[in-house]
Assembly symmetry: none
DNA sequence: TGCAGCTGTGAAAATCCTGTGAACGCAGGC
DNA sequence: GCCTGCGTTCACAGGATTTTCACAGCTGCA
């Protein structure tokens, strides 16, 4: 299976011999590797867009555990492999419970380290990554190749974040996505408690959608949970519909049936 | 970071001592474990809806590698942990490249095995909820991916708590759940003495259920104990009621409640 | 039959959550 | 350096949801 993906790896270790040997091999395998001096703030790790982190806890001293915890908490998608000297079962278990994905004991063969890093990175793959084909929902046309959405040929003028959010929501059409999950996907790291960015962007999206496609509702709020994308025609204009008590939630299979109802 | 999820694990190993000890611990942790005799066809593994597989390659003999490859190829979402006696780097690398997620050398501490299984299962979580099969009970359709329940295509407009309660009850269909247990599950912490929240939410649920599905009774009260979810058609209309009105907590088989005829 | 303990109800009170508008800071382009 | 676009953060208002209460109706038991 596989390793044809190029892996972006960061290494925090001061064993220059090991790092060098590993570096040679990763380079030969086409990975992008970067060696870091010590406890880099998680925020900077975010910016590196890594697939995996190889970490020798012993170089971090007292802060090793809290650092590990912070990194894993903030970057749930990052593969974290601890590679350290002799250890106890309790230490290994602790690291794994804190969020580490694997633990190798030094001395270890670089080939095994790489295989484990690969295994750990593999998890990011296999997401239903959209194919380039333009997606049409409601009056909306989403074009991944242009990073834009259109309605009736006119662009919504979405910014990058707005577009990514829309794409994510639309890709999960019908399902409710929780804020944390949305944030995690679009922003790439864990949402801080109390962060309202997702709400703000949903508002911006709704504004732009409404402006161009006033006859449709696309994004539905699920109180206490998150948002759901499901285009449905607005029925507000003509006030003839006293019929079904609208509860804002479409039926399982999509929702146009309300119109045809009964 | 929370391993409070219940993990479904299968074990292929013939080391009865290890399996027994592990079984005790996994049970204590609330996991569902199943021990398999040998190389089970991948198709059957699929049906088990597992989170992870713990596998001793040595019990499979010659077919070990091809079996591993087939399983990993067929179940990319399954966490596969190999746990075997002494091995070479080449073997470990081979297994990992074939798709295994981790490799532990025996003898190993069951706690570490569990921690690694957890770590491996953690990866699957968080994104495309694969298990989203709609559950149908009575005329009710419960959709986890929408945080909603429907009957005849119409939403019950459940709030988050209501939905979680319903989901819990329905998941324990037929069994009586005590208030404390319900509270613990849904609210996430211990119920304060005298708290009536569960009762209140059961009422709300019953109201919404009755409104949309008047012909069925879903939630039954067990005096002094708790509640039981068990959909049964109301038989109110025709008052022939010949047999003795059965009582609330009778046999496992469904019970017909005395109903509001009067 | 009467008592004590539970459960069902309805509504008020307390909390929590989301929508919104605006200010702020940052980076790129002119 | 100044301007503009974009993303982030805040605070507040309006609702939606959850808790809490008090009381009525039941259930089980002596």
């Amino acid at each position: 299976m596989s390793s044809n993906q190029t892996i972006r790896l960061a290494v925090i270790d001061d064993d220059s011999g090991f790092v060098t040997v590993l570096g040679k091999r990763t380079e030969a395998a086409g990975w992008q590797q970067r060696v870091l001096g010590g406890a880099i703030p998680p925020e900077e790790l975010v910016a590196m867009k890594l697939n995996a982190l190889l970490l020798d806890l012993s170089v971090l001293g007292d802060e090793a555990w809290s650092y590990l915890e912070r990194v894993c908490g903030m970057l749930p998608d990052l593969g974290v492999v601890v590679c350290t000297g002799p250890s106890t079962v309790a230490q290994r278990v602790r690291a794994l419970r804190l969020g580490a994905d694997d633990w190798i004991s030094k001395p270890c063969h670089p080939e095994e380290a790489m295989a484990r890093i690969e295994a750990v990175s593999r998890r990011r793959r296999g997401r239903p990554q959209v194919d380039a084909g333009p997606v049409v929902v409601g009056e909306l046309e989403i074009r991944a190749d242009r990073f834009q959405a259109f309605v009736g040929g006119g662009s919504l003028a979405l910014t990058r974040r707005e577009f990514e959010l829309l794409q994510l929501l639309a890709g999960a059409e019908g399902r409710v996505l929780e804020r944390e999950a949305i944030y995690q996907q679009v922003w790439g790291y864990a949402m801080a408690h109390g962060d309202r960015s997702v709400d703000v962007f949903v508002r911006k999206l709704r504004q732009k959608l409404e402006k161009r496609s006033p006859a449709w509702h696309y994004i539905h709020t699920h109180f206490g949970v998150g948002y759901r994308f499901d285009p449905e025609p607005v029925e507000g204009d003509e006030a003839l519909a006293p019929s079904a008590p609208e509860d804002g939630d479409a039926a399982p299979g999509h929702s146009l049936e309300r119109l045809a109802a009964s």
